[in-house]
């Protein structure tokens, strides 16, 4: 027994640490030095850029595997979803299909992964729509649904995988308990916010660590192992912890609170310091612990634990749904895993409050918050995201009249008339942009003032655009301009060309049209 104990201690310390070391090395091969997550799949679809790189997908999946194997407090569904999305994107490239098809195959991969992982095809279909596609189009529905069915059938038949979550006959809650489930939803949103911000804050903190990034996961692993010697429940995906938390009396109230806080900290530590893995499974565990804590309190006050499982499940969805930004998916997972309509309706009460509250306070989901911090704001929907991602570069035209500031007024007017343009751009001999003049303005000057060269002209205030600006910014600037075009200048005000108002508008219409066809087209 004694030899066993020291072996267990050694393994608890060494396995996460060495796993972290390996994960750190794997991530050196990834662009950005971080594992890719479902957020990358969402960004690819929302901006219609598609094309998830296969190598990064494979490396991310591998490092997810190592992280989970090493016992890091991370989830397995994130890597699975991203792997499914990458495979979907790969198929589009192999078949040489277009952008819209790329989005659909990514959604198919995601749906199949969820359907297979949870034995829940409906949840897979809804997750692909709710989280990844974020619109409902019939042309996407059929492929996504078929992918989910195939994933489900393979998982149940070929892998002979049983249900993840069994429930023995839940009781029937009292009508007034639904008010508690609703309140649990509100509190759960706050726990979800704490969880998301802990992960983000740890990521910020990691940047200030005096340690090479590739060693961060090893540090997290060592700290995790050390804590696990004391509270082993925080290790890994936590499926057993989740199961025990749904049993009345398996944990005392104090234990629930302690494991909840430590699990939250451990997950933030592991994800923030660079272990690869999902945020879903730990959220399930934290939510269940939170719900169980509420259930324990209620049982203390009223006596009797018949409806304990309801509190555990409501807590679970109240924390998980805001983190994923997926209330329907979470509900369907509860329904498909437990087959209990009573539990699903109780869970519905919780998400009803949890999701809107968390969206107001923190953001639609952890993925959205992460993407917003990387500069992709999805809060105003997909059309804006597409415009924000579309670059101005391809709209820059060199078909514009450029004049030196010293050009005489008369010569300028004749140049403009010959070229058939109404505007000219002043560029000095070092290539710097100096301003803009209009034919109408020059005519007025010639008749009524002393000015002889363009340099003497009063300036027409015009915004300029950066060549890396997005179509969205160009549209914003356009609202302040009446004229033909906006000058494009670089950081040192070197003149690069112009973006015509008409081509900006055309590009805008083009993108809107592509979106409309993708989202509302029938076939």
């Amino acid at each position: 027994m004694a030899a066993d104990t020291s072996l267990v201690i050694l393994a608890t310390l060494l396995v996460p640490t060495l796993g972290g070391l390996l994960v750190g090395q794997l991530h050196r091969g990834l662009p950005g030095g971080r594992p890719h997550t479902p957020a990358d799949a969402i960004a690819a679809v929302q901006t219609r850029r598609g094309r998830l790189p296969a190598q990064a997908g494979a490396l991310s999946a591998l490092s997810g595997l190592v992280s989970l194997g090493a016992g890091a407090s991370v989830g397995q569904y994130g890597p699975l979803v991203h792997l499914g999305a990458t495979l979907g994107s790969l198929i589009t490239r192999l078949l040489r299909l277009g952008r819209s098809e790329d989005n659909i195959t990514i959604a198919c991969g995601v749906a199949a992964a969820i359907a297979a992982a949870f034995n829940a095809p409906l949840a897979g279909i809804v997750f692909a729509h709710e989280v990844v596609l974020r619109h409902y189009a019939l042309r996407a529905f059929a492929p996504v649904a078929s992918a989910a069915i195939v994933g489900y059938v393979l998982a149940t038949q070929l892998l002979a995988q049983g249900t993840l979550f069994h429930i023995t006959e839940p009781g029937v809650p009292q009508p007034w308990e639904f008010a508690l489930f609703l309140a649990l939803g509100g509190l759960g949103a706050l726990v979800a916010g704490g969880y998301m911000h802990a992960i983000l804050a740890m990521g910020q903190l990691a940047k200030r660590l005096p340690l090479p990034t590739s060693l961060h996961p090893a540090l997290a692993g060592a700290l995790l192992g050390l804590t696990a010697l004391w509270v082993p429940d925080i290790l890994g995906m936590g499926q057993e912890t989740l199961r025990f938390a749904t049993l009345p009396g398996a944990y005392s109230g104090g234990e629930l609170l302690m494991v909840l806080l430590l699990k939250l900290a451990a997950t933030a530590l592991c994800l923030g310091l660079g272990f690869a893995g999902g945020v879903f499974s730990p959220a399930l565990v934290i939510g269940t612990l939170f719900g169980a804590l509420a259930g324990t309190l209620v049982a203390e006050l009223r006596g009797g634990q018949e409806t304990f499982i309801f509190y555990a499940v409501c807590g679970m969805v109240a924390v998980t749904a805001p983190v994923l930004g997926a209330p329907l998916t979470t509900l369907l997972i509860v329904f498909e895993l437990t087959g209990s309509y009573a539990l699903t309706t109780a869970a519905l009460a919780s998400v009803t409050l949890a999701n809107p509250l968390a969206a107001q306070l923190f953001g639609r989901s952890l993925f959205d918050i992460q993407l917003a911090r990387r500069g992709l704001d999805l809060s105003a929907g997909r059309s804006r995201a597409v415009l924000q991602e579309a670059r101005l570069t391809e709209l820059i035209s060199h078909d514009a009249v450029t004049l030196a500031p010293a050009t005489p007024l008369k010569a300028a007017i004749s140049r403009l008339s010959q070229a058939g343009h109404g505007e000219a751009y002043l560029v000095d001999d070092r290539g710097r942009y100096q301003g803009c003049v209009t034919l109408a303005g020059l005519e007025t000057l010639r008749e009524g003032s002393e000015a002889t060269t363009l340099a003497d002209c009063p300036e027409t205030p015009r915004p300029v655009l950066d060549p890396h600006a997005s179509l969205w910014e160009a549209m914003q600037q356009l609202q302040k301009v009446t004229g033909e075009a906006i000058a494009v200048v670089d950081d040192e005000r070197r003149f690069l060309g112009v973006a015509y108002e008409s081509s900006i508008a055309r590009a805008f219409l083009h993108h809107s049209d592509a979106l409309r066809r993708e989202e509302h087209g029938a076939g």
Partner: protein, 372 residues
């Protein structure tokens, strides 16, 4: 050096010696030696299986009895002197013996199809057809209680075993982790599909031990007849035990006890052929005969063990002696099987020693005084 040269010679000599003997005694191939468990069990097998087999196939059956365990088999195989043709073993021992290479692998098509033509692989319950064995019956470890102990209310769930407020009185439990750990976790409302996964964690074991320790006044039994006696003498009001023993006490001795089927722990009893059996062909013929639906149904008229074939379970009728409806007394009957747990023998094979050590250490340091 000398030995190396001698052994092949010796073997050749033995072969020469053996051949004429075999050829000279042709009827040796036409008798069968079965190793079974003796007692009422063997008696039932004789009536339902051995005698009809001899009548139908003209092969006499000799029966040896044992109390389980692989020691004798291991020795017999090592010495290449196996006296038995067919073994009646628990599934866990059959699995272990198969791993060790003590048993002959059975041809996959050995078991006959159901009377309606359903192939054996679909007719038998999951896990009943092994590489070296075929399960023939299912018995259960159950809880029984004295009918007169709880006026007004009767235990209906396995959690009631631990509820001494509603069902006061001493309990008798087997002094093994098996069944007790499963029941303790079931009492926490752990779904039966997840029992062994949660028992694989330290928290799961601690919870189970805590639930067992919460019982006041446990008599720990070892011999299978003890719980029946303790119930009979009124020393305990609830006891765990084998369903066959409780049935016999109820039917033959008219004891006022009742079986609580919820949480019953089912185990398989199997037929197997030892490696080097004298008459492997007759052994296969016997196993095919004894595992037909018809024979399984007949056996269940003598002992309350569940058939392993679905087609047989549908046809179970009355007890030969008392005329009782046997369907209500076999573990696999749908009503009884609602809360049944199938013992995970692979899990026990992997963890047995550690779990048992932990069981003794946790429960018997302070429980020695109440031990029976």
């Amino acid at each position: 050096m000398l030995a190396r040269r001698l052994i092949p010679g010796l073997l050749a000599g033995l072969l020469v010696l053996a051949t004429p003997i075999r050829a000279g005694v042709p009827d040796a191939a036409d008798s069968l030696t079965v190793l079974s468990w003796g007692g009422a069990y063997e008696h039932a097998q004789r009536l339902a299986l051995f005698t009809p087999f001899t009548e139908g196939h003209d092969i006499p059956v000799a029966v040896d009895s044992y109390n389980g365990g692989l020691t004798e088999l291991r020795q017999a195989v090592a010495e290449n002197d196996v006296p038995w043709d067919v073994l009646d073993m628990t599934r866990s021992e059959a699995m272990a013996a198969c791993e060790e290479g003590l048993l002959e692998p059975l041809p996959p098509e050995l078991a006959a199809p159901a009377p309606d033509g359903t192939p054996a692989s679909q007719d038998f319950l999951p896990g009943a057809l092994g590489r070296c064995f075929i399960s023939h019956s299912i018995f259960a470890t159950v809880v029984a209680y004295r009918r007169d102990a709880f006026p007004g209310e009767r235990p209906t769930r396995i959690a009631d075993l631990f509820d001494q407020q509603r069902f006061p009185g001493p309990r008798a439990l087997q002094r093994t982790p098996a069944a007790n750990l499963e029941w303790a976790l079931l009492a926490y409302r752990v779904p039966r599909e997840e029992l062994y996964r949660l028992l694989s964690t330290r928290r799961g074991l601690d919870l189970a031990f805590a639930r067992l320790q919460s019982i006041d006044n446990i008599h720990w039994w070892e011999a299978g007849e003890t719980p029946v006696r303790l119930l009979e003498e009124g020393q305990v009001v609830m006891a765990s035990g084998y369903n066959g023993r409780f049935f016999a006490a109820m039917v033959e001795r008219d004891l006022p006890i009742e079986i609580l089927w919820d949480g019953q722990l089912q185990e398989h009893e199997t037929w197997a052929i030892p490696r080097g059996a004298p008459n492997p062909e007759a052994a296969q013929t016997f196993i095919r005969f004894a595992t037909t639906s018809e024979r399984q149904v007949e056996l269940a008229r003598h002992i309350p063990y569940g058939p392993t074939r679905r087609s047989a379970a549908m046809q179970v009728t009355t007890h030969r002696d008392s005329g009782l409806d046997m369907r209500l007394h076999i573990p696999t009957h749908p009503i009884n099987a609602q809360g049944a747990v199938t013992k995970d023998e692979t899990w026990y094979a992997r963890t047995q020693e550690r779990i048992e050590a932990l069981f003794r250490e946790t429960l018997f340091r302070e429980a020695l005084t109440t031990q029976e």
